[in-house]
């Protein structure tokens, strides 16, 4: 362990605590002042503080997926402006080909100065409800080039030496469908980065400028040491895994994400060579986001408590062929890149499940459902509703069942209150509940997916859905079964039409869109699950009597009980018939027969 001269570990920790809480303070400000459901209720945003060199020092308790996403966006700003960074400037960037993520994610950066000397940066990234482009909501899967995706803001100054660049403001206002929400959220971001600056300046007065600058860098080195110590504790070796995205919405071809993870000493190499080429549709994760997703996955696999800063990234190397799905090249569309990022994280977990079979849970559902509804009220005013009924339930783990209807460990978005949606949007939610039997069987079963139904109450709207796992199931681990697949259904009580995972269509008043999340994968041999645990799920109506048979458990009678004798016989027969159990995770294709999408 090396320490910088003259710095002590206590002061370092005190400053680290302060910076983390300052980033949290920024996040609280965003939540309280934001205007859109996606920021204020879905909480799709992040806050961070950087040192003068543009290295992330601390992130607020916000989205794990954003952990590694902010630094490349700031790098692009610093590269473009060089020395032209002045007190009072505020920079914006949403260009995926200059370090940002996808166009709806607008990054704002404020440089912090003390006596004309740059000493750090604050950042807030927020996912905006709309960014213009051909489809409301900014997440359309069926764009084919970035130019269709909306307003592109390469690194620019939104404020110049304290003065708003009114031209940029006007351009944003005229290019988005719901300027009150978008500009309102930008104001929330502005409040937060200014507040973060004030907090950092207080630290300057407490610790002195030079001292603080040294500590801000030292905090990053410290995190690096901690990360390396964690990686050192992992087994050395090399493990491969391939997970799939169903398709890009244009062709039926699956997209393979191939990964080889190599752990050597205190470093990790993630090599995505062999991954499918970039997709025609916009589900490509740009390389910055691919890396960010991989970092988030590895943080959960090492030590979730490590400070989310640049020191964590250093021992991790990511390789991906330019032009491949996980490293798309301009002008590839990336609007729905979130989906790809989730699958990148799944791939990392899958490979690590081979390295650490006793630690890594089965796959979380991974339906990655993003739903947008856009249209116009009779008075000509636009409405855009966007929410993520996202990545879904947890997979079963080595210690317990996967949590039903929870978010994945690499994100932490909230659902949107139904009553708020109905008061705010021309929509009615007609159902929000668990899908019985959707969790993969195992000693510890996967979590249950969630069904959510949206009824349009306006005359007409376009609905755009980004989802996945209709074809490839969330994998089980250590012999556990996969979770059920995602379904999109139009008017379940009428025509009951099964829709593809990615689509854009017009709907009219009274139409109902039903989204059924994939379930989590199971962990361990289903035939080893305690029959009483299966019975409990049956009593709770989370598993049906038919579903219990997947565990080789026969439940009958009223009140229902385990038929011990039949269960024994059934389990014996199932063991004989299935042959040896595959322990390593592998991706299976969905068969309609297994989970027909019927909802009880």
């Amino acid at each position: 362990m090396t320490e910088r001269q003259g710095l002590d570990p206590v002061t370092r920790n005190i400053i680290k605590n302060y910076l983390e809480s300052a980033a949290d303070t920024m996040a609280v400000t965003v939540v309280r002042t934001a205007r859109s459901l996606v920021v204020r209720d879905n909480m799709d945003f992040s806050t961070a503080i950087f040192n003068a060199d543009g290295d992330q020092v601390a992130q607020g308790l916000t989205l794990p997926f954003h952990m590694g996403a902010m630094q490349p966006a700031l790098d692009a700003v610093r590269k473009h402006f060089g020395d032209d960074v002045r007190p009072g400037d505020i920079f914006a960037n949403n260009d995926p080909y200059e370090g940002a993520s996808h166009l709806p994610d607008i990054f704002l950066f404020k440089p912090i100065f003390v006596n004309e000397l740059l000493m750090g940066w604050t950042c807030v990234i927020a996912h905006h409800t709309d960014i213009g482009g051909r489809v409301a909501g900014g997440n359309a899967c069926d764009n084919t080039e970035i130019y269709q995706e909306g307003l592109r803001l390469p690194p620019i100054k939104l404020y110049e030496e304290g003065r708003l660049n009114a031209a940029v403001w006007r351009i944003i206002e005229k290019n988005v469908r719901v300027p009150d929400k978008v500009l309102g959220d930008i104001r929330a971001q502005l409040s937060a980065i200014r507040q973060g600056e004030r907090e950092v300046l207080r630290l300057v007065s407490d610790h002195g400028l030079e001292n603080l600058k040294n500590y801000m860098t030292d905090i990053i080195d410290y995190t690096e040491r901690l990360t390396r110590a964690e990686i050192e504790g992992l087994p050395d070796g090399s493990w491969s895994f391939t997970d799939y995205v169903d398709d890009d919405g244009f062709s039926d071809d699956p997209i393979a994400i191939k990964l080889r993870v190599t752990i050597e000493g205190d470093e990790i190499l993630l090599d995505f060579t062999g991954t499918s080429p970039q997709a025609k549709g916009s589900i490509n994760p740009n390389f910055a986001f691919t890396k960010s997703a991989a970092y988030a996955a590895l943080k959960g696999l090492t030590n979730p408590g490590i400070t989310a800063n640049a020191g964590f990234f250093r021992p991790i190397k990511v390789i991906a062929t330019p032009g491949s799905y996980v490293n798309p090249q301009h002008p590839a569309p990336v609007a729905a890149r979130g989906l790809g990022g989730f699958r990148v994280a799944h791939t990392v977990f899958g490979a690590m499940a081979k390295a650490l079979p006793d630690r890594v849970p089965a796959a979380w559902g991974g339906g990655e459902i993003g739903a947008s509804f856009g249209g116009y009220y009779p008075d000509g005013k636009a409405f855009v509703f966007l929410e993520f009924n996202n990545d879904g339930p947890r997979g079963g783990g080595p210690y317990a069942d996967g949590a039903d209807g929870a978010t994945a460990p690499v994100t932490n978005q909230s659902n949107t209150p139904i009553e708020s949606i109905e008061a705010d949007q021309p929509l009615r939610i007609t159902r929000y509940s668990y899908v019985p039997d959707s969790g993969g069987a195992g000693v510890f079963r996967g979590g249950l997916g969630v069904i959510r139904e949206y009824e349009l109450t306006a005359a007409e709207a376009s609905v755009q859905i980004r989802s996945d796992r209709n074809k490839f199931l969330p994998w089980g681990a250590q012999g556990g079964s996969p979770g059920s697949q995602t379904h999109s259904i139009l008017n379940p009580d009428g025509e009951n039409r099964e829709l593809p995972s990615k689509f854009l269509m017009d709907v009219k008043r009274g139409d109902v869109y039903r989204s059924v999340q994939a379930g989590g994968g199971g962990y361990g041999d289903p035939l080893e699950r305690d029959p009483e645990a299966v019975l409990y799920d049956v009593l709770q109506e989370k598993v049906t009597v038919g579903g219990a048979l997947e565990y080789g458990v026969v439940v009958s009678g009223e009140p229902p009980e385990v038929d011990v004798e039949s269960t024994g016989k059934l389990r014996d027969r199932m063991r004989r018939e299935r042959g040896p159990l595959t322990l390593e995770p592998r991706v299976e294709a969905a068969s309609e027969a297994r989970h027909p999408g019927v909802v009880l």
């Binding site: 002061t11 303070t25 309280r32 934001a34 901690l226 959960g300 509940s433």
Partner: protein
């Protein structure tokens, strides 16, 4: 019913001399007796978790005996308890059923789907308080404007009631979508349940919390249903036992909003009294502040495992609209929800960090010093307790630095092993970090201060408030040790340490007023506001408040009825609460309300906007005021123990101050203003006065610390 005429001194005649405040904690039950003349007796007895009332009665009897009173001399008993919280955390509440709208029975368990710990692979949800098979759906539907979209199906309701009857459940919660806008379906269900299942306890969302947001409303209603029978049993038993001993006075219960509730409403709506213990300390500081003329206070309460902070601004306690029971409270709880059970009732806004005297300190793999969240607790306790604790704690550092008497605590009752503390710090902290003993102990002290500063910052700077404008009121066993260091780091220049800081929460119980809270969602943009309709709501809520107060013996001259509005700019996220400047809604009132909102918004977020306003909730607080002050002129301890003789010892005051020979005195010797370095030792606490600070005793018996310029 003990609805006596002399409720909380509301009557003209006062028959009695003493009031008792009883605060149940995890380890100890604190009983404080406060006489009209300001004389105070403190009794600490071991809590009795199998039957909490036992310790309460035991403590009260001991005090009565010691004071030479008869039970009839006790004029009031105020109570803070954890019975409801424990029932929730231990899953020992009443088995409960829920009736909800078709399609939404999992709203309760889905919650907001967020996880309280980022990146955690093994996250488990809290077990829902109503299991899935007891969550029943009925076809019916309202719109957010209160129109009936689908009528309630009587046939289905009847079937559901059959199933509830068959399940044998005795407590039922009812929460339908948009019932805040139109309660008629919930009312119909109420009627049907009363008719079909007499004897079943009912909790109905439109009665308890007519507020938008289905999960929060449902969860709150379910918590009420789940704890109500347990709380009712406990409180009825306790009242009965008190009467048996001859104490025939009103029993009042501390609510999490800082007001007292009569025992009947605590039984009816137990959700208002769930986290009553931590609230009481803040209430104590609030009333102390009123008496001292201090309007802006940060409270700081440090115990064995956690430290809590709260804010009082412009003479008002700060209320949060909701909190999570069992959420593992932390400063991050504003961002990371999902660890507990959401309870949407106004409660004193506390920020809590895992930093207390028992917090274990350790060095992580990156070579950094950490404190907590693990705590040595009371057993084995810090190393210096000599009860088998091996891991150094914050208390061990405080002993090593001389802040705590290195020989003993509690006036000599409790011997300490300072050498063992120093050894443990050397082995686990100083050695690995290459620091001297003093540096290591000082490092621990500074680090834990920075963790606790996080809680204080969460309630101040996170809201745009500058802590330098505030007075720090420090209590709890460890509060007065760390107060000055914390104040220095936050730029605070004034500290108040109340008498008996270790049991100050129990004082809060005695200072509080009786209070009732009411809320009604009225989701209207100002432009769409129908004044007649809004004023009707005002009249109704105020009427309910006054009616309750009258029934409790407060005549109208002693009602304080405050109206507040939750509002926001149209489309904005969470609301801010502002007070209603006029008694009625009208064009002029709206102007004033809007202006008030702008000021509040600017204070909190740094800007105002010219956007239109949205009214969300109307809130009414009805307080019953006593005819006499509940805070005496001066507080004097009548406990037998004599103050220890003044002495001195070596104490370390950081790198700047170094080791200094420091006088150690009792509280009473501060009658003359004294300059630090100085340590004030008392039975249940130690106050550290560093160089650069002065300490003096005010009229009320508080230690006032001031930083010298």
């Amino acid at each position: 019913m003990i609805r006596a005429a002399n409720f909380l001194g509301a009557s003209v005649v006062r028959m009695t001399r003493f009031r008792a405040g009883v605060d149940i904690g995890g380890t100890f039950t604190d009983v404080v007796f406060l006489g009209d003349d300001g004389s105070v007796l403190v009794r600490k007895v071991a809590s009795t978790p199998d039957d909490y009332a036992e310790a309460v009665l035991n403590g009260i009897s001991l005090g009565i005996e010691e004071l030479g009173l008869s039970p009839g001399d006790i004029g009031e008993v105020s109570h803070g308890y954890t019975v409801a919280t424990n029932a929730i955390l231990e899953g020992k509440g009443e088995r409960t059923a829920l009736i909800t709208t078709e399609g939404f029975r999992d709203v309760l368990e889905l919650a907001r789907i967020r996880t309280p710990r980022l990146y955690d692979l093994y996250y488990q949800k809290p077990v829902p308080l109503v299991e899935r098979r007891l969550r029943f759906e009925v076809p019916e539907r309202m719109t957010f404007q209160g129109e009936v979209l689908k009528p309630l199906s009587e046939a289905s309701l009847s079937e559901v009631l059959d199933r509830i009857e068959a399940s044998g459940v005795r407590s039922v919660a009812v929460s339908l979508l948009h019932s805040y806008a139109n309660p008629s379906h919930e009312e119909r269900i109420t009627e049907a349940v009363r008719e079909r299942l007499p004897g079943v306890t009912l909790s109905v969302s439109s009665e308890l919390l007519p507020e938008m947001r289905e999960y929060e409303r449902t969860s709150t209603t379910v918590i009420n249903a789940y704890v109500r029978p347990v709380v009712a049993e406990y409180l009825s038993q306790l009242s009965g036992e008190l009467r048996k001993t001859g104490i025939g006075v009103p029993l009042t219960v501390m609510q999490s909003n800082g007001g007292l509730a009569p025992v009947e409403s605590a039984i009816e709506k137990p959700i208002y009294c769930i986290e009553s213990g931590p609230a009481a300390g803040v209430v104590g500081a609030y009333h102390l502040g009123k008496r001292l003329g201090i309007d802006n206070i940060l409270t700081f309460d440090m115990g064995g495992t956690t430290a809590k902070a709260s804010m009082i601004e412009d003479g008002e306690m700060l209320l949060a609209p909701e909190y999570e029971v069992g959420g593992g409270m932390s400063v991050g709880h504003r961002l990371l929800k999902g660890g507990g059970y959401i309870l949407r009732v106004p409660s004193i806004d506390l920020a809590e960090v895992s930093a207390g005297g028992g917090s274990i300190v350790w060095v992580d793999r990156g070579g950094s010093l950490q404190s907590g969240p693990q705590s040595a607790g009371a057993v084995p306790g810090p190393v210096c307790y000599g009860r088998g604790g091996q891991e150094p704690t914050v208390t061990d550092a405080n002993v090593s630095l001389g802040y705590l008497n290195p020989d003993h605590l509690l006036g000599g009752e409790f011997p300490l092993d300072a050498d063992a503390a120093a050894r443990a710090l050397r082995d686990r902290v100083g050695g690995p970090l290459g620091m001297s003993d003093t540096e290591a102990a000082n490092g621990v002290h500074l680090l834990v201060n920075s963790n606790m500063a996080r809680a204080l910052r969460a309630v101040s700077t996170e809201r745009g408030r500058d802590p330098r404008r505030f007075t720090l009121v420090a209590f709890g066993g460890g509060g007065p040790i760390h107060a000055a260091g914390l104040a220095d780091s936050l730029g605070i220049s004034r500290i108040v340490v109340p008498p008996s800081p270790g049991v100050f929460s129990a004082f809060g119980l005695l200072f509080a007023d009786l209070e009732h809270h009411f809320v009604q969602t009225h989701f209207k943009a100002f432009a769409d506001l129908d004044f007649r309709e809004a004023n009707e709501i005002l009249d109704r809520l105020r009427g309910e408040g006054r009616e309750l107060l009258r029934a409790e013996g407060f005549d109208d001259s002693r009602h304080q009825v405050v109206t507040q509005l939750d509002m926001k700019y149209v489309g904005q996220t969470s609301e801010l609460t502002v007070s209603m400047p006029q008694s009625r809604f009208g064009p002029e009132a709206l102007e004033e309300i809007g202006a008030g909102y702008g000021v509040e918004h600017e204070k909190t977020y740094g800007y105002q906007s010219d956007e239109p306003f949205q009214l969300v909730n109307i809130r009414v607080v009805a307080r019953g005021l006593s005819d006499e002050s509940r805070v005496p002129e001066r507080i004097v301890s009548v406990s037998g123990a004599a103050e220890p003789a003044s002495t001195d010892r070596d104490i370390y005051f950081g790198r700047a101050g170094g080791w200094l020979r420091t006088p150690v005195v009792g509280r009473s010797s501060l009658a003359v203003r004294s300059e630090g370095p100085l340590v004030v030792e008392e039975y249940d606490s130690t106050t550290v006065v560093p160089p650069g600070w002065t300490a003096s005793l005010d009229d009320l018996g508080n230690i006032a610390l001031e930083r010298m310029e």
